[in-house]
Each structure stands twice: as structure tokens, then as C-alpha cells.
């Protein structure tokens, strides 16, 4: 039976000055719909690399990633990423950071009012409704990460990748 998300014999090799560096080799992961998978390993073993390959931010040199029967090699909002470095736009408020994602993903399917309410809803889920107008440099690291999660959730992704 085909799984929802399949990482099939993925390997990635980087060309460096000192020769080829193989970071991943023969990685196989099969994930069901609704399944929650945790990758645990020591620092530097390649967890973020696997995540970036699934997200499409990195191209595997061997093997590939298949989502719902289709190969994916490009990033997209169907595989939302919560970045390790939260990656919030420093010049936008908390509200606008999430609204940016919502506007991009739902510009054709939701009205302005619906997008506004959807943004507020997702920020409510992560308990950030009290800080909607704050800029990223005015909130704590934990709060920034929560905004990142709200942004990822707001994209209604098929796969949620949390680094």
C-alpha cells in the first residue's frame, strides 16, 4: 500500500573543497496520514538535512520524496516548515508575519475578512493574541517560535515539518 509520505532511498552528497561529503545515505522513512514522527539523533547527524530535503529546500542527490503519489522537488506551502531560527520578518508585526503567509496561500480561495479571521484564529491557537502588533525584536524567543508555528499551521499544510 502506498504511504502518504515516502522518503525513498534518499542520499545527499555535498561537493566541498576537501572532496565529496556524504551527509545522508539510504534514508527510508514511510509516514501515514495523521502520523506524528520524531527524528532523534546527536547534533550534526543530519536531521535538519532530512527535513530540508522533504521540504524541498535541498535537492537529494540520490532517491526522492513522494507525497500522495507525486514526487516533490520544490518547496511549497503543502509542506510547511517551522524553522529552527524562527525566520520571522523583522520589519513586520506578529500579525503581519502570519498574514503574509495566509495572503499568499489563500489569496484566491478566501476573502479579505476570512483571511483576517483565519490569521487571528491561528495566533489564538498559539496564545499570541495579546501581542499582535509587536515586532519580532520585542518578543521572547519562545514567542517568536510560537508565531512561526502559527504561520506554518495557517498554511493548512499536508505535512508539517518542525526543525
Amino acid at each position: 500500500m502506498n504511504k502518504y509520505l515516502e522518503i525513498d532511498h534518499v542520499g545527499i552528497t555535498f561537493p566541498t573543497d576537501k572532496g565529496a561529503l556524504t551527509v545522508l545515505d539510504g534514508v527510508n522513512i514511510k509516514v501515514d496520514q495523521g502520523e506524528f514522527v520524531s527524528l532523534i539523533g546527536h547534533s550534526g547527524c543530519g536531521k535538519s538535512t532530512v527535513l530540508n530535503v522533504i521540504a524541498g529546500l535541498l535537492q537529494a542527490t540520490q532517491g526522492g520524496v513522494v507525497l500522495e503519489g507525486k514526487e516533490v522537488d520544490e518547496p511549497g506551502p503543502d509542506r510547511a516548515v517551522v524553522f529552527q531560527n524562527h525566520s520571522l520578518m523583522p520589519w513586520l508585526s506578529v500579525y503581519n508575519n502570519v498574514r503574509l503567509a495566509v495572503d499568499q496561500v489563500f489569496k484566491k480561495t478566501k476573502s479579505k475578512q476570512e483571511r483576517h479571521e483565519w490569521t487571528l484564529h491561528n495566533l489564538e491557537l498559539v496564545d499570541m493574541s495579546h501581542a499582535l502588533d509587536r515586532k519580532p525584536d520585542e518578543i521572547s524567543g519562545g514567542m517568536k517560535q510560537r508565531v512561526g508555528i502559527a504561520r506554518a499551521l495557517a498554511m493548512e499544510p499536508k505535512v508539517l515539518l518542525m526543525d
Partner: protein, 336 residues
Amino acid sequence: MNHTNTLTLNRFDVCMNQLLSALDPKNWAKKLFVPIIAILVFLMLWSAGARQVHTSLGVFPGPAKVWEQAMTLWEDHQLEQQKKAAFYQRLQKRIDKAVAAGKPAKKIARLKHRKYTGKETFIDQIVTSLITVATGFLLASLIAIPVGIAIGMNNMLYSAFNPIIQLLKPVSPLAWLPLVTMVVSAVYVSSDPLFSKSFLTSAFTVTLCCLWPTIINTGVGVAGVNKDLINVSRVLRLGWLTKTVKIVLPSSIPMMFTGLRLSLGIGWMVLIAAEMLAQNPGLGKFIWDEFQNGSSNSLARIMVAVIVIGFIGFLLDQGMLSLQKMASWDKHAILR
């Protein structure tokens, strides 16, 4: 939701606190004491040193003489303004008399077009210099910002433009001036010119010299957008234009303003040199004329111009700094 109102109140609170702290006499004493002492020491050294220097135009002017000439220049300006007002009053009386006497419309129109032909005062020259540098700087910014964005976003364009930028960047305005003068003379041929040739020559020389910091800094700012933010734009599949407008440009505004600030500083310096040689009626020409004049007051008057030039340069820089602080989202950068 009242979060907007709360935030406005907080910002107001912060501004009031800053204002009150600035007006507090205790802070005054601390912040101004050392600079004032330093300035007084400088004035004393200047005064003592000046007396030792004997030039062909007399003793080098000390602070007292410079102050005296500054007052003279200000009084000359006031006098000239009064003469100008009187002239226009008399002219108006003539126009009214002509209208009452029923003179032909053409003659009245000619009277109305009469202009005061008095001498340009020091203040007029300051205004001319400011207008010229503003023109040159704005023109440079209009060219430099798009080019900077282009070379920051596209490696091929960067490789194409970079050698030319590096080659033209170190060229002195005095080297550009003859070329600009000849081109303006050849191209700007009009029987009723809106701008004088000297104005255009000075403005274009300023443009040529102050393009470079803005181009380079904008390029660096655009190329150096945080990779994480670019990754966000990739996950969101933002179109090229959306990505540029919503992510690349806001991210590079702080560097852009650094470039603009440097450019304005260079532009102001270049302007004085350009005016001197192009004879644009501004501060540069004032200094040149005083030097050619060679009176016993010349050196003091030139010193007045030097101090005014320095002060205006300082004000321009502080102006740009304020704009930079307003536009910069990077709260961790120390902007001085």
C-alpha cells in the same frame, strides 16, 4: 481590539520620557560639559595659533575676527533685503500709477516683469548651494538605487557593473568637471534656459561623484538578505515581484540608507569644489571670489564660509541619520 491604542500610548510615553530626559538640567550638564570645554580649548588654541601666522593678506584670522565678519555678512544680507523690499514697493507704486493712467497693457506687463538686480548675499549663496546639492543628490539616488538593487539580485549584472564601478569610484570631481562642462555646453543649447549652465555642471558633477556609495551599499544590502527569509519565501512560493517588494527591499533598507548618508556627505564636499570651478553662485564661488579679492578681510570671511559649510554638512548628515533611524527595523544596529 484596543491593542493599537495601547501601543500608541506606549510610544508616546517613550517619546515624552526621552524629551523630559533631554530637558533635564542634570543631563545637560553631563552631556554638554565636556564638549563645551573641548570647544573652548579649541577656540583658545585657534586664537593663539592664528596670531603667529602672518600671510600676505594679513594675520591669520582668529575667532574674534571671524565672528566680526560673520556679523558683517549677516548685516549685508539684511541691508540687501531692505533694498529689495524698497525696490519692489517703488515698482508697485509705478505699476499702480500706470494702471490708473490707463497705459497700454504691454507696458504694464513689462513693468511687472522687472527684477531686482542687486548683489547676491551670503545667505542667497547658501540657498543656491543647498538647492544644487539637493538636485545632484536626488538625481544620483534615482540612478543608484535601481542599479544597486539590480546588481544585488543578479550575479551576472554584478560581474558586469563591478569593474566599471570600481574604476569610476575613485575619480575626483575636479577631474570630471572639464568633461561635464564641455558636455553641458554642447548639449544644453536653449535661447531661454530654465537652469544656468553653471548650476547644471555643478549638479551633474555632484551626481557623478556621489552615485557610488549608494550603489555599492544597496547592492550589498540586497545580496545579503538573510537566507532564512529567502527560505520562507520559497516555502510560500512567492512570485519574483512579491518576493522582491515584500522581502528583499524591506530587508535591504538599512544598508540603502547607509549608502545614501555616505553619498550625501560626499556630495556636499564635492559641491563646494565644483561650484568653485564652475562658478555656480553658491558657497564655493563665495570662497573663490574672496580669495581672488584679496582684501584684509578675505581670510576671515573664508573662515566664516568654512564654518558654515561644516555646520550645514553636519545638519545634512543628522537629517539623513534621523531618516535612517526611522526607516531601520534593525533595532540592534547602533546608529550614530
